[in-house]
């Protein structure tokens, strides 16, 4: 008897859309503030769903357990990682209603999904939307226009909308297998499309912004000295900037991503080149 009684009491607890959205905005505001080497986004994760946990678990002991459960390691990407939060919230809701959702299942879903979705988020948001929005800003700014400082906020708007939907998608997926999302294929299509646009734009922009020419000339016996830059330009304009971009790309791919080392190498090579007169 007592079991049935308890279950009917617990099943009263229902989250509203407002609860779910509120946790998203909390997350959006604080997800990176408390980032630490020890547990990265863990603290932010726990803090942003704590209002929900408080509502779901009126009992102090349950609440304390839930809070501790979400102080376990978590790190994903702020936007696409939201899918994990959404799913977690749905699972906690079911657990609070008395359904059989073991703690391990919640932690398992979190740790299992945070990596892949961080990867997607890094590629789509930081790898594609960010450079495109900022590149638009840079184009205006390099002519001295203040609009260049406003355009990058496109990135904020895009990711905020994206994050809102992904968070809610995660919640509505609830306990369903995450594979259905990935199988749907639209995620893959979006990534491919965004990657193509990203690469195309990076190409277009590097044509504008990477600058390298050589003043070298070849002395001719009875004619004007032959400028090497002219030869390059006749083969294809911008061959030097393109070459240097791909040399750096090759280095990143094969020798590791030590940006500081690359930055310093570029500066030293430029200085040496200037000294001996090849740039």
């Amino acid at each position: 008897m007592s079991d049935i009684y308890q279950e009917s009491v617990k099943s009263d607890i229902k989250l509203t859309k407002k609860d779910v959205n509120k946790s998203f905005f909390l997350w959006w505001w604080i997800c990176e503030i408390s980032n630490s080497f020890e547990r990265l986004q863990t603290l932010a994760f726990c803090a942003c769903i704590s209002p929900i946990l408080k509502k779901l678990y009126p009992d102090e002991k349950d609440l304390s357990e839930a809070l501790m459960r979400h102080l376990n390691f978590f790190n994903s990407q702020g936007i696409w990682g939201g899918l994990v939060h959404g799913i977690t919230i749905a699972m906690e809701e079911q657990k609070a209603r008395g359904e059989d959702v073991p703690e391990e299942a919640i932690t398992g879903i979190k740790t299992g999904l945070m990596g892949p979705f961080a990867g997607i988020g890094d590629t789509v948001d930081w790898g594609t939307w960010k450079p495109i929005c900022f590149a638009l800003g840079v184009t205006f700014a390099s002519n001295g226009s203040a609009i260049g400082a406003i355009l990058p906020f496109l990135f904020t708007i895009i990711t905020l909308i994206e994050g809102y939907y992904i968070w809610n998608l995660g919640y509505s997926l609830g306990q369903d297998s995450i594979k259905t999302v990935l199988k749907g294929g639209w995620v893959q299509e979006l990534i491919t499309g965004a990657s193509i646009l990203g690469l195309f734009m990076m190409g277009a922009l590097s044509a504008n912004f990477v600058k390298l020419t050589t003043p070298l000339t070849i002395k001719m016996a009875n004619a004007e000295p032959l400028a090497i830059q002219n030869i390059f330009d006749q083969i294809a304009p911008g061959i030097l900037p393109l070459a240097i971009t791909f040399i750096i790309y090759w280095y990143l791919k094969n020798k590791g991503q030590n940006y500081t080392k690359i930055l310093l190498t570029i500066i030293i090579a430029s200085l040496l080149g200037a000294l001996i007169g090849i740039f």
Partner: protein, 247 residues
């Protein structure tokens, strides 16, 4: 003085990434250039320097929140100093680089200290102190951030310009030329990182397409964005149709 206080506070507040991609945008050189330009009375020049510094960091992302370079610190010091000493944008880029590296170090210190916040939260969880957890996730990191981040920018902008000016007066011509060559090449790193992050070798022809479309036709960047969007859509749609026939 106003500038030094302003930039110090700007660095502290924006680098916390309050509002994930919202705070982040404020921390970027091309965005901070506008208020710096307004304070210093030269918006166009500030925007140009901001744009140049931004390009170096265009492709950088922070996997696992490990910053490869701190573009906020780089910009907040390089833009004001470049304006005060009449540097070209290319030169300012080179000035920015070492500060970008210094910022990474600061961030590592910060995130090491933050580890203790987790232990605070562990204790609060035992007593269901959700307010305590909230404080540990927001207010305390902000306090730590201020102590670490305000002073370096404040001091650099208070005394930096004189030091840099004195230095520039004595260095030889070829170094100045070499530095502006470096300023022209450094943006290549930003683009190379983006190609690397997107990481699909088979799609690299799209990069080359974009590059030569601009080189030969000299179209502006909005035109490129329109063409690029169409090409991306077409490619995805064609792939889907093919997939549909097979299935």
């Amino acid at each position: 003085m106003v500038l030094a206080i302003f930039t110090g506070i700007w660095y502290w507040l924006t680098r916390m990434n309050i509002g994930y991609t919202f705070g982040y945008v404020f921390a970027q050189p091309v965005v901070m250039a506008l208020p710096i330009g307004l304070i210093m009375g030269d918006v166009p020049q500030a925007m140009m320097v901001g744009a140049a510094v931004e390009l170096v960091y265009l492709g950088m992302i922070s996997p696992g929140a490990n910053m490869p370079a701190d573009e906020a610190l780089a910009g907040l010091i390089a833009i004001p100093i470049a304006l005060q000493t009449n540097m070209t944008p290319e030169m300012a880029v080179v000035l920015a680089v070492p500060f970008g590296v210094l910022g990474v170090f600061l961030d590592q210190v910060r995130r090491t200290i933050h580890a203790s916040l987790n232990h605070m939260a562990d204790k609060y969880a035992l007593t269901c102190n959700t307010k305590g957890i909230w404080m540990a996730a927001t207010v305390w990191p902000l306090v730590i951030g201020f102590i670490l981040r305000f002073p370096p920018v404040f001091l650099a902008n208070l005394y930096g310009a004189e030091a840099v000016q004195g230095f520039m007066d004595i260095i030889p011509e070829w170094i100045l030329h070499g530095l502006s060559v470096a300023g022209g090449v450094l943006p290549a790193l930003g683009f190379a990182i983006t190609i690397f992050i997107i990481g699909k070798k088979t799609l690299i022809p799209f990069f080359i397409l974009g590059f030569f479309l601009v080189q030969y036709l000299e179209i502006n960047i909005m035109a490129a964005a329109i063409f690029g969007t169409c090409i991306a859509l077409l490619t995805v749609l064609m792939r889907q149709e093919k997939g549909g026939e097979k299935a």
